[in-house]
């Protein structure tokens, strides 16, 4: 870079040298009329303030005609020289490669200085936008790599609580992953949700090679890539269309369990929405992509009859169930027997076609249950106006899946267990969850009673009396006497998981607990985990003296009381 400033700097030095030398050589006249020569020091001083157009005047004596002629020349030379030098410096600063180099160095420094656990998010599309917003609300830090510069500019405008390091670069390049902190000791997970299938696969591979034990979550569109990712030890592969299909199948077969699942994987703080479960009977699918295909399979599995409308021929579907059309006009829909259908799925990859098909079908059959695929998040207003019974938004589904995998592994295990529970079990639990945080999606957190938790060491090993029970965790340590709005969802003891453990379950060292509840309960539990005296409070119901003197006093009072009791007995 300095090489490019050589010419202007040499030019400036030359101009100054010539100007100073000329001023020293040209004779002047002092106040007594005697000739004199300006010395180098004063000549340099004069040229310095003249060249920078400050202009203090003629020193030490007024100049002669010859001197003024020389200074006139110097002024124009010097101003030109400065203009050239400053122009070159600004040109260099605007230089794209230099700016990139500066952005790179700054990103690298920011990442290196992170002192809290953070996630590395590759790709900042619609999914990542949703995900980052929620992570930010949960006070979790993250680093973003995004290929496109304009999206990186979006991040700067996104108004996160933390200064989020972001970099415009290719996340499939392991070097960039490295400077983005994949090897950083505080990095707790990597999320590959770029729009590019190959890039996501490359991220999965890099994560496996560089940090085999790191939590990695990657998105894929087709099964072969998903299998490939899984073979690299990726902890969670989100296969979009399969996820959608599974979700739909769950809604058909176990509506209450599906509802519970949705609440537990939703973003904390959102209002809990109760979606109708899709009816069984004759269904029409408009647009048979991978999305439609996934739903088709789950409908057939649930025993429904299905008619498919698609502009491409589909050899796998029996001819009597298939109509070759776009599905936006009445003719094709009538041919698919829309009047007698109970449900309609519109799943073109074009929102305008989806809305058009939805409108036509509603006219033909006003009571039909509708499921619409919304491709772009900003078409939200249109879909809300149309009110389909279920709107499936791609970005949201993936963001939910990412979040449930990121929040904690215990939740994933709990959800897996919940899916094997009965409908009545789920129906009993749903109102309790609804009550916990006034109809909002509850927060979910984990308490580990292990060696890293100093209060657990105290309560389990140092002073095991009275024994700690789950019931104790419902006492509010911050507002004495209050009950916390929280529910123990899962208790893991010696590798054995129990859903909804009893309140009098005794806790042991090494146990893990998964709680759901409101924000206050989470804060209270965090406080208990950090303070032995608070833990003793929830355990005994009495405030414990904290300082040495008060502990001594309390001990003495207790001894005296015991002695008095003994005397009475005697």
């Amino acid at each position: 870079m300095l090489r490019r400033l050589r010419a202007p700097i040499v030019m400036l030095i030359g101009i100054y040298a010539v100007a100073v030398l000329g001023l020293v050589l040209i004779p002047g006249v002092d106040s007594d009329g005697k000739p004199y020569h300006i010395d180098f020091f004063h000549a340099f001083y004069f040229i310095s303030y003249t060249a920078t157009s400050i202009g203090f005047g003629e020193i030490p004596h007024p100049f002669t005609y010859q001197q003024r002629l020389w200074v006139l020349l110097c002024i124009y030379l010097a101003v030109t020289g400065w203009a050239y030098a400053i122009g070159s410096i600004f040109g260099l600063m605007r230089d794209e490669s230099l700016r990139k180099a500066i952005a790179y160095a700054r990103f690298r420094r920011k990442v290196r200085r992170i002192t809290e656990p953070f996630y590395l998010i590759c790709g900042y599309g619609q999914t990542a936008k949703l995900l980052c917003k929620v992570l930010d609300d949960l006070d979790i830090r993250f680093v973003i790599i995004e290929q496109r510069q304009e999206r990186v500019n979006d991040i700067a405008l996104a108004d996160f609580h933390y200064d989020t390091p972001c970099f415009a670069g290719d996340a499939s390049n392991p070097e960039i992953l490295q400077i983005a902190g994949i090897l950083h000791p505080q990095c707790i997970g990597i999320v590959g949700i770029t729009g590019n299938e190959d890039a996501n696969l490359a991220i999965a591979i890099s994560a496996y090679v560089m940090r085999p034990k790191l939590l990695s979550i990657c998105r894929s569109r087709n099964q072969s890539v998903a299998d490939n990712m899984a073979s690299f030890g990726t902890n969670k592969v989100i296969n979009l269309f399969e996820t959608v299909g599974r979700k739909f199948a769950r809604r058909l077969q176990q509506p209450a369990v599906a509802q519970l699942y949705d609440v537990l994987t939703d973003f904390p703080g959102n209002p809990i929405t109760y979606e109708q479960s899709p009816p069984l009977g004759h269904w029409v699918i408009v647009g048979f992509g991978r999305f439609g295909g996934a739903v088709y399979k789950s409908l057939l599995a649930a025993g429904c009859s299905v008619s498919v409308i698609d502009p491409e021929p589909q050899p796998h579907i029996p001819a009597q169930d298939f109509t070759l059309a776009l599905g936006v006009d009445a003719q094709a829909l009538l041919k698919a027997n829309i009047q007698n259908a109970v449900g309609l799925l519109v799943s073109h990859d074009n929102d305008a076609n989806n809305l058009s098909a939805l409108a036509t079908a509603r006219e033909l059959n006003p009571h039909i249950f509708t499921v619409a695929r919304q491709n772009l998040a900003h078409n939200h207003i249109l879909f809300t106006a149309f009110k389909p019974n279920i709107t499936s938004i791609r970005a949201q589904i993936i963001a939910h899946e990412c979040l449930s995998a990121m929040e904690n592994p215990l939740l994933a295990d709990a959800i897996a267990l919940i899916q094997h529970q009965s409908e009545s079990w789920a129906n009993a639990l749903l109102p309790r969850i609804h009550q916990l945080s006034h109809g909002k999606v509850p927060e979910i957190w984990r308490i580990q009673l292990n060696a890293q938790n100093t209060t657990a060491v105290h309560a389990m090993l140092a002073q095991p009396v009275p024994p700690l029970q789950i019931r104790h965790y419902t006492h509010d340590a911050l507002n004495h006497g209050d009950e916390l709005r929280c529910l123990a969802l899962l208790h893991r003891h010696a590798g054995q998981d129990t859903l909804l453990p009893e309140l009098d379950t005794q806790l042991h060292f090494g146990d893990e607990l998964l709680f759901i509840g409101d924000h206050h309960a989470r804060i209270a539990h965090n406080a208990v985990q950090e303070s032995i005296s608070l833990l003793d409070y929830i355990r005994t119901g009495q405030e414990q003296p904290q300082s040495w003197i008060f502990r001594r006093l309390a001990q003495r009072q207790k001894d005296r009381r015991d002695a008095a009791i003994e005397q009475q007995i005697d």
Partner: protein, 127 residues
């Protein structure tokens, strides 16, 4: 012949010779050391320093370092001169003169290294 190499060599040698011209003479006799020569030496040294910017090789770094040392010493000599003449007003006593010349001599040593590097580099690329 490479014109860049000519300019580069020219300024380095000129910086050396001007510096040498200033230093030569009795160390404490003021009239044997010309103020214009010191001025020229400083200007040429600054230009030589600028020309050495941006060379990323090991030799380039050493070149730049020697030049910076010479600049520092010569500017110090000029500052001492200015201080003696205008601030303290003692004028060019033998003590002040020898101080100025010894600073310039230090710069000369740095310039010698610079010239040696230049010659060494040239000989290395002999064909």
């Amino acid at each position: 012949m490479n014109i860049e190499k000519v300019i580069f060599g020219f300024f380095i040698l000129l910086a050396f010779t001007l510096n040498f011209g200033f230093v030569i003479g009795e160390i404490d006799v003021a009239h044997q050391h010309d103020v214009f020569e010191l001025f020229a030496a400083i200007v040429v040294n600054l230009i030589a320093t600028t020309l050495k910017f941006g060379d990323r090789t090991q030799v380039g770094a050493l070149h730049l370092a020697t030049s910076l040392v010479a600049d520092l010493q010569l500017i110090t000599a000029a500052l001492v001169w200015g201080h003696a003449e205008y601030v303290s007003g003692v004028g060019m006593t033998p003590g002040v003169t020898s101080m100025i010349v010894s600073f310039a001599a230090g710069a000369l040593a740095a310039n010698v290294v610079s010239v040696v590097l230049l010659i060494g580099e040239t000989l290395q690329h002999r064909r």
